[in-house]
Symmetry: C2
Subunit: 207 residues, 2 copies
């Protein structure tokens, strides 16, 4: 089905556009496009315009750089949240993941990536300076580093740590260990090793 | 992740639109939308406009009802094709599938469905009358019925057969049997039974 030319250039065009999406091959693209072709014209317009206006009108919160419809995002604007704690994440998906847990009531800071010399991403490409400024000006008591545990993540963690060290702020990182529900024998050695080193005092939460 | 509200209404909207596509859940929709968000604005516009203009500007060939950019589709307009043979199919995907085999050089006739009383689809909802007219007027020598072998397909086949019977036209149906490369022991009994009934004379194609 790969090099097939459809009998319609419009169809060919739409299928090609869908095929550019990650994980969507030509067959799936065709299925999706034919589905849209069967929908009422106004619904297809709503579909097309939703992505166009998203890309055109989306804003990034000037405080935390999270995705937003307004200058300041809903999280930063929410007075009920704890402005003294900032959780540093790589991208907006991480914000969504943590928000989903409903365990964090502080604010975020989206770096927009991590330091990666291989990909040509240096500290100046990330929102690190604005993080330092927030810590200096906004009465921040704790910065939680929630980056991935890769070489790049560790480098970024260390860079931020060094920048924040002179300031009076507590710096923490999210706990790493064996996932809840996982069996020890299937945990990788590094995770298991670290979870022993970073053991915490036992509290009976059923009490 | 199901009932999650994103921090942006625009994002929420785009994700909802993508989730309406068949086989695309909310998580996949979010992944696709975030991918589009990282693309240049003009590329996202091309994506959105490609589906809008497809839906708005698409035509159906007035002769065979296949999808087309023009009044008459490229297949019907192609003088090199055999206008005396018409292959009757259910939908445009079937045209694509048969075209992909590169084994058929005749023309098509897209019914736009099959007779299905359960779904309220009767003969008048399908392009059957226009098929009869083509056979009467266009010097058609053979009509190949290539509908699915379901109750509905058989009903439609029989209906068309009865309509065409008074006309001087050969009516055939595509061969059903054990798929090439399939082992007999795994073929279903109906297919295997029919492939024995409809056996063909052996020709050594390697000669």
């Amino acid at each position: 089905m790969n090099q097939q030319q459809f009998s319609s250039g419009l169809l060919e065009n739409a299928v090609q556009e869908f095929s550019k999406l990650p994980g969507i091959g030509r067959k799936t693209a065709l299925r999706l496009v034919l589905h849209l072709l069967r929908q009422p014209e106004n619904e297809v317009e709503m579909f097309g315009n939703s992505v166009i206006s998203l890309r055109r009108d989306i804003k990034y919160c000037k405080k935390c750089h999270n995705i937003s419809d307004t200058e300041t995002c809903l999280i930063c604007a929410n007075q009920a949240r704890d402005g003294e704690t900032i959780c540093v994440v790589e991208n907006i998906r991480d914000v969504m993941s943590i928000e989903n847990t409903q365990q964090f009531r502080g604010l975020y800071h989206v770096l927009g990536g991590i330091i990666s010399p291989m990909d040509g991403v240096g500290p100046s490409d990330l929102e690190i300076d604005s993080l330092i400024k927030r810590v200096q000006n906004d009465n921040v008591k704790e910065v939680i580093l929630a980056l991935s545990t890769t070489m790049e993540g560790d480098t970024t963690n260390f860079y931020i740590f060094r920048k924040l060290a002179p300031l009076e702020v507590k710096i923490t990182t999210i706990a790493r260990g064996v996932a809840i529900g996982d069996e020890l024998e299937y945990a990788d050695e590094i995770t298991l090793g670290r979870s022993i080193l970073n053991r915490v005092e036992f509290t009976n939460s059923f009490k």
